[in-house]
């Protein structure tokens, strides 16, 4: 494996978001990350982004946003309909090919333009679950209750992270600049919660296999019960859970926080109902 380093990171302050188009958002946040890395747009050999048109309410917003990184003349580029943490994973894998040394990753999302739970419902199994109208919040309530029923925890807070708008960006390079990615895995559980026990999170346990000790952990927890639950699944005494949740951004932002922490640290991203998918990225100075 080629070692990969996080050379630069950036997030945009929330106050600016309403005043910007997608391409401007991307232009601004990627410029900050590149400046942080001390690199220019011409250094970038691969660009990968994470966003969802459903969260933004704009068809082809991910295509429009690409203007922000200057895709003409044509560039090597890819997009995932997921959190930017998964785009970072793709960029990490792409750097393993050997022909490219610098990758630019960004993601952006808004929770304010549509009903996030209704969008979550549409992402469920279209035959057996979506037609019922159940959403991520009710799914989460079932898992929280299952944990309480199993007496795994004396109590678990209800409630959820606050929905926010935001954008994040990171610059990866194979040159020794910034903290090194020491562990990077993502694992998925079965989609149907009737198929998996809700009192264990098998996917995060497998993703954590071989991860080693960390001094800080930034967890993506859209619902408050998930903080103590995932801390237990990871065997960590202290974690930082999400206060805010920006669709498609929180995971990448967590990895950025880990990269800036100055210690061996974990950044986490989850997706899907009841913590179905889990991505873990450990960085070390």
């Amino acid at each position: 494996m080629r070692p990969v380093y996080i050379a630069g990171t950036a997030e945009l302050p929330e106050v600016e978001l309403d005043k910007r188009d997608e391409a401007e958002l991307v232009n601004a946040v990627t410029a900050l990350a590149l400046a942080d890395a001390g690199l220019g747009r011409d250094d970038v050999g691969f660009t990968c982004s994470g966003s969802s048109d459903y969260h933004l309410g704009r068809p082809f917003s991910f295509v429009m946003a690409l203007d922000g990184v200057g895709p003409w003349e044509p560039i090597r580029e890819s997009h995932v309909e997921m959190d930017g943490a998964f785009a970072l994973y793709e960029a990490y894998v792409r750097l393993q090919h050997g022909d490219v040394d610098v990758a630019l990753v960004y993601s952006f999302g808004k929770s304010s333009v549509g009903d996030q739970d209704a969008i979550g419902t549409l992402q469920l199994d279209p035959y057996y679950q979506m037609p019922l109208g159940i959403g991520p919040a009710q799914m989460a309530a079932l898992q929280r209750q299952a944990l309480l029923d199993a007496e795994a925890f004396p109590e678990l807070t209800t409630g959820r992270a606050k929905g926010r708008d935001g954008a994040a960006s990171a610059v990866l390079t194979t040159r020794p600049m910034g903290p090194r990615i020491a562990h990077f895995k993502h694992i998925t559980d079965a989609h149907d919660i009737g198929l998996r026990g809700l009192t264990r999170c098998a996917s995060i346990r497998r993703a954590a296999d071989g991860m080693g000790p960390v001094e800080a952990a930034f967890l993506h927890t859209p619902f408050h019960y998930q903080g103590p639950f995932l801390a237990r699944e990871l065997g960590l005494a202290r974690v930082t859970a999400s206060e805010n949740d920006v669709p498609m951004v929180t995971g990448l932002s967590n990895i950025n926080k880990a990269a800036r922490s100055g210690v061996r640290a974990l950044g986490h991203c989850t997706s899907g109902p009841c913590l179905q998918q889990n991505l873990l990225c450990v960085v070390e100075p």
């Binding site: 309403d18 005043k19 910007r20 188009d21 997608e22 391409a23 401007e24 958002l25 991307v26 232009n27 410029a31 747009r41 459903y54 309410g57 704009r58 429009m64 946003a65 690409l66 203007d67 922000g68 990184v69 200057g70 895709p71 003409w72 003349e73 333009v113 549509g114 009903d115 209704a118 969008i119 549409l122 279209p126 035959y127 057996y128 679950q129 979506m130 037609p131 019922l132 159940i134 919040a137 009710q138 309530a141 079932l142 898992q143 929280r144 209750q145 299952a146 029923d149 079965a190 149907d192 919660i193 009737g194 198929l195 809700l198």
Partner: protein
Amino acid sequence: MELQAPFVLEYAYKRSTGPVIGRFLTALREGRVEGVRAQDGTVYVPAREYAPNGEALGEDWVTVASQGEVLVAAEGWAVVRLDGATTGLLHRALSPLSAGDRAHVHWSAERRGHITDIAGFSAQPAARVEVVEGEPVGRFKQPTRLEYLVHAGPTTAKFLRHILEDRLVGQRCRQCSKVYVPPRGACPTCAVPLAEEVPLPDEGEVTTFSVIHIPFEGQRLKPPYACAHILLEGADVPLLHIVGGCDVSEVHRGMRVKAVWDEEPAPTLGRVRYFEPVR
């Protein structure tokens, strides 16, 4: 400055079920719950096409009971393992339920071969239901609808305010001097914001076009009509719009066209109804 508008995204999906899910839904219409059995004896309810280990399912079917044990319940939802099944079925809780309770399937008054043929689970025993006859289920309709309040953002908002006043205004890149219309958040060549506005005439030239003959859902014009790239004078990038006011057979590359504006002022590019030939 801020411009916003409601946006509704909706579509009536026609979902093909395939034979396995189709058979499960057909059984629901008949007032029964069926499961598929894997080689290791696991009975999957609801029926699925593949076991998590990749084994193809759908050969071995069993009818399971219409009652079972609650695995978990919260906020009006429950996962219930019906007697004879191995896995849990997620559905509504029609009465207060907790883990370990017995729960019964309650059927909907009208059944059509759909997961909502089950009304939900209740602690109360359910009345028996009649079989609803029909063809095996192969497809069902599933409407979806999402509502948004979309903000135009500053660049598009500026452009649309000019449209309200019958003006098409482009943006010039400060680095490469290319003029773009409609507006973009950044120059795709130079990756810098486009700040300078350039008034453009509502006249230009067709650079390429396509005649639409096929009707589709949500179509606003009656086919045939021509969609064209129109390069406004002074712009470097063409604008996608409609050519009207003539027979589609007259549309050609290099054709001079001019905007036909709607009387009704509205902040949308649709205010230009179409571009018509300059005669």
